[in-house]
Amino acid sequence: MSDKLHSAAIPSSGGVARWLPWALLVVLALLPIVGAELGLDYYVGFVRRMLIVMIAATSLNFILGYGGMAALGHAGFIGVGAYTVVALVDAGVSSAWTAWGAAVLVSGAIAALIGAVSLRTRGVYFLMITLAFAQMLYYLAVSLSAYGGDDGYGLYSPLELGFGRTTGNAALFFWIVLAIAALVFAFASRAAVSRFGLALTGIRDNETRMEALGYPVYRLKLAAFTGAGALAGLAGALLASHNNFVSPSTMHWTESATLLVMVVLGGLGRRWGAVLGVAVWLALSEVLKLYTEYWHWPLGLMLIAVVFAAPRGLAGVFDRRRAVQ
């Protein structure tokens, strides 16, 4: 029995899994060039947005899937990142790196504060309190008349990337987003099998035991929550540059919920879960929008079908190891 488990674990770690990420990276890197040739600029932009959402979803998957923290306020941190860019642009900052870097720091700091309070609670209470904090941020954004309030804030000139380039250079911005998304994915993959990731998984599975083993459970969770918030803020900052526009709706709780649905759809606590979930969800909604105004309907039905057919999420279908168990 133990031998069977062992041999079943081998195919998933080698072979396809090894070269697939690299192949995907090459294909995506070629996209702006091929897209420009074929006049598919819109779709290059679409994939860019997809990659940005993947960054946010990956960070959510880390705390929810590996850490078991059911946070329903992740869009709040995306919003903090986006509004940090707005605030800096409004104050005259023009460097993308400065704005994005500041977004990471500010959203990380806000996540640390919110986490410090929220992580005193668990389960549904944690979900409600993270939701409440995100809604507070949402209404704060609505009330910020200096940054457009309800109407949002337009970023009229693209941010500078150095060497005379700006985020207005669609291909270059695409590659930067791709590189960041790939780094985040690689980091999350490594972290999942590191001491930190495995401790987090232990907390998800049996928090009391982890405390009794001597783990500083609260501090570990707070570190994960802060890191995830910072990455969500980075996604928000990139999204601001992608749209050249930021509005409070970015941080509305339905955005948090959609992000959560995407991660669950893709596979909670699975390496490819967030990436798959975002890709399928956004691609489907894009396609369905071509056919009907009521695209939420078929999307909802498909989601129900997936939940029944693949309760472990799409990534779970490919993960043979767990299937054996």
Binding site: R190, A191, S194, R195, L198, D205, E211, A212, G214
Partner: protein, 249 residues
């Protein structure tokens, strides 16, 4: 000097005084058993000592270090480790992964998010050592949740041993066990006393009288009597409250 001293511990749940000025001590190398009928407050006391519950009063000192205001995980770092009455292991993980996780808590930082833990040979050695100590070396690849109850109990003990505790709290280690498994556990605990002093909470009287150097009897949150096995066996109040009940059953 005693290795461990709990002084005047108090815990109230609303109007109920679950732990009523309990004091007890454990000497180095000693097995001190804590017995008492259901609802006497044994589990509450274990949770107070291990830090999973905050005490309303009293103090806890282990090896000269005041632990009273420390969190549960900090108490573990100071050498106070525990098992659980209801087996508490990582059911979805293999025995080896369980032991690795326990070993990890006591070697370097768990905030490191680079580097595969699987590559750490020191951790693996420690895990194997723990497996040998409790007799699980031939089950490393088994998924913990699929193991028989008695084996899971051993794993629970192994997890607690990872801390190299000075004092080991065993919360009803024989609970739900058949006679054969119980005897194995008695033998295991007898072996462990060379590594740590033990505070043993147990219902199984045979086991208690086999293992304990001293016994304290808890009833209605208070220590009714405390002394060596012969003293407890002869104590009239204890017979009435506890041992007597056992005979009637």
């Amino acid at each position: 000097m005693s290795l461990f001293v709990a002084q005047d511990l108090v815990k109230r749940f609303g109007g109920l005084v679950a732990t009523d000025h309990v004091s007890l001590s454990v000497e180095p190398g000693e097995v001190h058993a804590l017995i008492g009928p259901n609802g006497a407050g044994k589990s509450t006391l274990v949770n107070l000592i291990s830090g999973l519950l905050a005490a309303d009063g009293g103090s806890i000192v282990l090896d000269g270090v005041e632990l009273t205001s420390l969190s549960a995980h900090d108490r573990v770092r100071h050498g106070l480790s525990r098992c659980f009455q209801i087996t508490s292991v990582f059911r979805g993980d293999s025995v080896l992964d369980n032991l690795l996780l326990a070993a990890q808590a006591h070697s370097r930082s768990s905030f490191r998010c680079f580097g595969r833990r699987a590559g750490e040979s020191a951790l693996r050695e420690r895990a194997l050592e723990l497996a040998h100590t409790v007799g699980l070396a031939d089950m490393l690849d088994r998924v913990a949740g699929t193991l028989p109850h008695g084996v899971q109990r051993k794993l629970d003990v192994a997890l607690a041993l990872a801390a190299r505790p000075k004092l080991l709290l065993l919360d009803e280690p024989m609970a739900g066990m058949g006679p054969e498994d119980s005897q194995q556990m008695v033998e295991l605990i007898a072996r462990l006393r060379s590594e740590a002093a033990i505070l043993l909470i147990e219902h199984d009287m045979d086991a208690v009288f086999q293992l304990a150097d001293r016994i304290s009897v808890l009833d209605y949150g208070k220590v009714l009597a405390s002394g060596d096995t012969a003293y407890i066996r002869e104590h009239p109040e204890v017979q009435a409250v506890y041992l007597g009940v056992e005979e009637v059953r």
